[in-house]
């Protein structure tokens, strides 16, 4: 189900990453103000954009879950947010490295972009504990979806608020006052595509692994003659029931 097209996606990601790295280090010119240090932006900014978009996608998938009550949408929303959290960690670390090289400090508290991203990260860092705190799977998925929708709406609002703030200390890559020249913009675009592909590939891997695990568990229960509602280990991750496993199962049958 989820494994379909995984090989093509993986190959595309590897090729895109290789091309992006080649462009960053051999094609894009050195930036006049920051020099070689600016190369971090081709990594840091796409990571941040993909992470934030992933949070919003997680919210959209959660809306679909709330509409249909199909646990597969909850699983997709969970994986999107889970992967975005990993990308957000990478964003914060690479941003701190850039700040140290550029400003001489690992973190600057009066920079709105940095602090707002940290707030978004900390908000989503509560997602997994929230899920784990609720034992009933149905209630867990419903509450998690409500959280994902609310937090997902907060992300673009937060982004707009930062854009409207007057302190433009953080370099603007897209729009604003410092538009990139052609070669840099092209390199950035390829880096963004490569990062989006990496995100999509890792999400697909995660979904495939979880789906396969659920299938194995269902098969084990069937062989052991256990009921579908048999014991479920407490987990933050959503559990797919056997009814949700076949690709052609009716949506909404798990409510």
């Amino acid at each position: 189900m989820y494994g379909k097209g995984l090989r093509a996606l993986s190959i595309s990601t590897v090729v895109a990453m290789a091309v992006a790295l080649g462009l960053v280090f051999f094609y894009a010119p050195l930036e006049a103000e920051q020099g070689f240090l600016q190369k971090i932006f081709y990594l840091h900014v796409p990571l941040a954009i993909v992470a934030l978009c992933g949070f919003v996608i997680g919210g959209l998938l959660a809306i679909q879950h709330l509409r249909t009550r199909d646990p597969r949408w909850d699983m997709r929303s969970y994986v999107a947010i889970h992967m975005s959290l990993i990308f957000a960690v990478a964003t914060l670390i690479t941003g701190a490295i850039w700040a140290k090289g550029s400003w001489g400090h690992w973190w600057v508290w009066n920079e709105p972009t940095l602090v707002s991203f940290l707030i978004v990260f900390l908000l989503y860092a509560t997602y997994q504990p929230l899920r784990f705190a609720i034992e009933d799977p149905e209630r867990q998925s419903r509450y998690a979806s409500v959280f994902a929708v609310t937090a997902g709406a907060f992300v673009p609002m937060n982004f707009i608020a930062v854009r409207l703030s007057t302190a433009y200390l953080h370099p603007r890559v897209l729009g604003g006052t410092s538009n990139l020249p052609g070669s840099m913009a092209f390199t950035f675009l390829i880096s963004l595509i490569a990062m989006a592909l990496l995100y999509a590939t890792l999400c697909k891997y995660e979904l495939t692994a979880k789906h396969t695990r659920a299938q194995v568990r269902a098969l084990r229960r069937r062989l052991a003659g256990q009921a579908e509602t048999a014991r479920r280990p407490r987990s933050a991750a959503p559990t797919l029931t056997a009814g949700a496993l076949p690709t052609h199962s009716a949506a909404g049958s798990e409510a």
Binding site: E31, A32, E33, Q34, G35, F36, L37, K39, I40, L43, H44, L47, I86, V89, A90, I93, T94, I97, W98, K100, G101, S102, W103, H105, V108, N110, E111, A167, L169, P171, L198, L202, Y205, A209, T212, R213, V216, L219, R220, L223, A224, G225, Q226
Partner: protein
Amino acid sequence: MALPLAELPALPLHEAGKYVAGAYVVLFVLVLIYVAIMALRLSRIERELGELLELSQAAAPAPEAESLPARESTLA
């Protein structure tokens, strides 16, 4: 502390290189950790599938055998 970027001098290559390398290594390490976790999961699924194969092979002649309830209880 929060100087405008235009006032900050560009770091020389030998000094900026370590920061750039550090940033790219961070992503590489994170992906590597993820791949390692996925490999562990895959090996666990493979082991479980092996166990299930043994279970199904053991359960195959079950209809002919008379001790079916006893066998089922050991599987649970």
